[in-house]
């Protein structure tokens, strides 16, 4: 591959003598090879038993032991369940907010976003507080009213909590599709005498069907990777999914890398199959009218139903975004979370513990802030490099770079961790036991997102601006520094925050890669939850959610600004 990169090719590349472009391309490829390809290689080698030996035992054990086969079945069932449940929430919500004048539209939309950025393991912890079989607040209320309760420690509970998180994926996809469907078709159908429902069913729905199916698939795929809720709710219920099974195989002693690697490959196959199905479906059934600026259809006036429907749609969002935050906040200031929030029961001691006394929590908070900052910065740099080479040059090798940059999408956090662990636990490059292995994991996970957001940012700036600079004598570096970067800075900041937020709360990879001294806030939460210190967990969660909310507000302010700057940029371009 190295030779491929160094072959002189594109006319632009030939112009410069020292060719900084190829240097950057080389660095980009090297970084991605090291962070993504090299670990993946070790994942495959590990599955064959290397470096301890060579054999197929990892695979045969994966498929013959009941303890391994059950998790595979459970994982597929989970994905199907979550896919369906997510759509049950997302479809009505998307249609109502995009096509009707239902009340609370902006609130509903904002809460869907919040539900997505809340770390799902916090939602899981919150639902132990709400729906713990006997002690949970809701279950106690139900019992008081003489009604049967709902046990969150079941397969249904796992599907429920994960759906409350990932429904946002189909919701935003369907909303986007609805927004891009040309309203003229719906108007025409209406004029030809179709009733509202008939138009909805026979015109709009088929047009956005690919978004619905694709959204459901993506939600299912996402659910398979969520170690947090699978562990926090599934393990007590004796329900094992692939990520928790892989975790068990590695975190017990002696660690069984071959088996864990082989099962990781199974999880990769499931993930990639889901993603491929989604692509295929979208590709075959492209919604024909999407494209040019269509007519925005008139919103369906709901009349007296505006508020009742709005409140009905608010319910799942309250469950997904408001209730978890509220109960965690309440538990964080309660001496004992199971007791009523009376004045006697109020305390700030758990914040004292979370922010000052508990070693793991204090280290975790600092480490997470450091890691998320560094990961976001590096990932955005790599993302810009990938996007720039893709859009602005015709260097050979950039396709390989592009491919490497989307690879991590097919790697659930647990799988990436198993790969990194085996790659960096042995020479030549030993990173295990240091904080660097976590940084590599976070960067690798963030690269697809960073590359995509940089791609969007670059597309908004016309290349002619940089060309003009080059023609008037500016060097390549100067044209980037003085023209391109200032123009895309707001979008880059946006991308930075998009990486920062999930990195801050990353658990799936971290739980397998952290060491003493490199604990993160997610590890502190997970470990303290293991010890039943729910109040301290809640305090720590409140701190984490607080940081996320600040970042989210910044994000919103920035995206509002970048939209206006995009407008000016494209106007000048």
């Amino acid at each position: 591959m190295g030779r491929l990169i160094l072959t002189p090719a594109a006319p632009i590349a030939r112009r410069a003598r020292l060719n900084p472009q190829r240097l950057v391309l080389g660095l980009g490829v090297a970084a991605l090879l090291l962070f993504v390809a090299y670990p993946l290689l070790w994942l495959v080698l590990g599955a064959f038993g290397l470096p301890r030996g060579f054999g197929l035992a990892g695979f045969t054990r994966s498929f013959t032991r009941a303890a391994n086969v059950m998790p595979m079945v459970n994982t597929v069932v989970l994905a199907l369940g979550v896919g369906v449940c997510s759509l049950l929430i997302a479809v009505p919500l998307a249609f109502a907010t995009a096509r009707t004048d239902v009340a609370l539209r902006r609130v509903l939309n904002a809460l869907a976003g919040l539900a997505y950025v809340l770390p799902p393991y916090l939602t899981a912890v919150a639902y132990i507080i709400l729906l713990g079989p006997n002690a949970g607040h809701i279950n106690r209320a139900l019992a008081w009213a003489g009604l049967p309760g709902f046990n969150i420690f079941t397969g249904y509970g796992v599907v429920f909590v994960i759906s409350l998180h990932v429904f946002a994926i189909p919701y935003f996809l369907i909303s986007e599709a609805l927004a891009s469907v040309d309203g003229a078709m719906e108007e025409a159908a209406r004029m030809l005498g179709g009733s509202r429902w008939a138009v909805l069913r026979r015109v709009t729905l088929p047009l956005v069907a690919p978004a619905i199916t694709g959204g459901g698939l993506l939600a299912g795929v996402a659910s398979m990777a969520l170690f947090g809720p699978q562990a926090i709710l599934g393990l007590p219920a004796q329900l094992v999914y692939l990520p928790t099974r892989i975790f068990g195989a590695i975190s017990s002693y002696p660690p069984r890398y071959a088996e864990a690697s082989a099962m990781s490959l199974v999880l990769v196959v499931l993930t990639v199959a889901g993603l491929a199905a989604q692509r295929l479906y979208l590709g075959r059934r492209s919604y024909v009218t999407v494209g040019g600026k269509g007519v925005r259809p008139a919103r369906w006036a709901l009349g007296a139903w505006r508020w009742p429907l709005g409140l009905l749609l608010l319910l799942p969002l309250l469950l997904a975004a408001v209730a978890p935050v509220a109960v965690l906040a309440l538990a964080a200031v309660s001496k004992v979370w199971t007791q009523a929030p009376t004045l006697d029961n109020l305390t700030l001691a758990h914040f004292q513990a979370a922010l000052f006394d508990n070693q793991t929590a204090v280290r975790g908070l600092l480490n997470s802030l450091k890691l998320a900052t560094a990961a976001a910065t590096v990932a955005v740099l790599i993302g810009v490099t990938v996007a720039y080479l893709d859009l602005r040059t015709r260097l050979r090798g950039r396709t390989a770079l592009d491919f490497l940059a989307i690879l991590p999408l097919g790697l659930p956090g647990t799988v990436l961790a198993v790969a990194l662990l085996q790659a960096f636990i042995h020479p030549p490059l030993v990173l295990y036991g240091t904080i660097w292995i976590l940084l590599v994991a976070y960067i690798a996970r963030a690269i697809p997102l960073a590359a995509r957001s940089a791609n969007v940012a670059l597309r908004q700036v016309d290349a002619s601006l940089e060309e003009a600079a080059r023609i008037t004598g500016a060097g390549w570096v100067a044209s980037i520094r003085r023209i391109l970067l200032p123009l895309i800075r707001p979008s880059l900041l946006l991308g930075w925050l998009l990486v920062f937020i999930p990195s801050l709360s990353e658990l799936s990879s971290t739980i397998l890669l952290y060491s003493s001294g490199t604990e993160t806030i997610s590890v502190a939460i997970y470990r303290l939850n293991d010890l039943g210190q729910l109040e301290v967990v809640a305090a720590l969660s409140v701190v984490l959610i607080g940081i996320i909310l600040v970042a989210l507000l910044l994000l919103q302010a920035l995206s509002a600004r970048s939209r206006t700057s995009v407008g000016t940029a494209s106007a000048t371009g």
């Binding site: 660690p255 960096f424 295990y432 210190q533």
Partner: protein
């Protein structure tokens, strides 16, 4: 503090030699400046100790505090279940990045594994003189620091019938009312194996048939019993049950007369420790009379013959302790985890 009601009659000692010395629990401990074989000046120069432990953090915090006050050496710790602690250390050793200066885990099998991989160094601590010879590794690689008895705990308000024997918990009336613990990497396995070897695997199968709730740690298990979520639990840590009762929660516990599985915890010094002198100094403190007394204050039975049992608990000599064959536990670990997975389902790390 009220005295714990001992529900078991005092029985003959079954394990003879092994526990004998530890069990001769005398009067009180003598507060004395711990003797040390470590180089204090070098330890202070290192300035820091990294402790890997599976002990409850409340006890760990209590033991660390006076040590830091005395020597000015900071103690950081990594706390996880015994399997976490062991797996972490083994992985760090693979990477040549050992971070631990001292390791403590409630699993002798783990120490046999570490010893086999030559990860430990021999240390003859003056603080371990009063620990019986059979509670120490003959090569000085590890020494038992504590004994955890796996007891029956129940909620005094809703456990009907009140259990006193392992057999009682197999009563169909406990259908859906039992709890037990094991983390996803098999922390509860040694004691389940011990119980099974003493009273038959059939007993575990009968428990499993009653659909017991499995919790990830004894700490969570005790909360579940305190809240009444489950009426009774088998094989929880005696110190956790002890603390729950001490705090006035509606729980009680017993050491069944027919025998109670005991789990030896041990402590050792990693050969590649980054702060070897500070680690050794802390080892001496941890195993010293004062350090061990703090463990006992937190509800732990010390391995030292001269440290009294936790307040209100019977001396070990009055209990019939069942000690597993640790060598078997170590060599047959995979099979044991497999068997437990097939009986109870779920994740055992096997």
């Amino acid at each position: 503090m009220q005295r714990t009601r001992i529900t078991t009659p005092i029985t003959r000692r079954r394990l003879g030699g092994l526990i004998a010395a530890a069990a001769v629990a005398g009067g009180g401990w003598r507060p004395a400046r711990a003797a040390t074989g470590a180089d204090v000046a070098k330890a202070k120069a290192e300035g820091k100790v990294m402790l890997y432990t599976s002990l409850d953090t409340k006890i760990v915090d209590a033991v660390i505090k006076p040590f830091t006050a005395q020597y000015g050496i900071k103690v950081e710790y990594y706390r996880g279940g015994s399997a976490d602690v062991t797996a972490k250390l083994l992985a760090e050793a693979d990477a040549g990045q050992v971070r631990a200066d001292i390791v403590d885990a409630s699993d002798i099998g783990a120490f046999l594994a570490m010893k086999q991989r030559k990860l430990l160094r021999a240390y003859d601590s003056p603080a371990t003189a009063t620990v019986a010879a059979n509670l120490k590794d003959p090569d000085g690689m590890w020494v038992a620091d504590r004994l955890t008895q796996a007891v029956i705990q129940w909620n005094t308000a809703n456990a009907v019938p009140t259990p006193a024997h392992w057999e009682d918990l197999a009563d169909p009336r406990f259908m859906g009312k039992l709890a037990f613990f094991s983390s996803s990497n098999g922390d509860g396995a040694p004691r389940l194996y011990t119980l099974a070897t003493a009273f038959g695997w059939k007993l575990l199968e009968r428990y499993a048939a009653l659909k017991p709730l499995r919790l990830t740690s004894p700490q969570v298990m005790t909360q579940i019993i305190e809240s009444g979520e489950r009426s009774a639990g088998f094989l929880t840590n005696d110190n956790i049950a002890w603390r729950s009762k001490l705090q006035g929660k509606a729980t009680d516990y017993c050491f069944p007369a027919e025998g109670v599985p005991t789990e030896l915890g041990a402590v050792g010094l990693p050969a590649a420790a980054p702060h070897p002198n500070a680690g050794a100094l802390f080892y001496d403190w941890w195993m010293g009379a004062a350090g061990q007394a703090l463990l006992a204050d937190g509800g732990k039975y010390s391995s030292r013959a001269d440290v009294a049992p936790p307040k209100g608990n019977p001396p070990l000599s009055s209990l019939k302790l069942i000690v597993p064959d640790n060598q078997k536990l170590f060599t047959q670990r995979a099979d044991i985890l497999d068997r437990l997975t097939s009986i109870f389902g779920g994740e055992w790390g096997g």
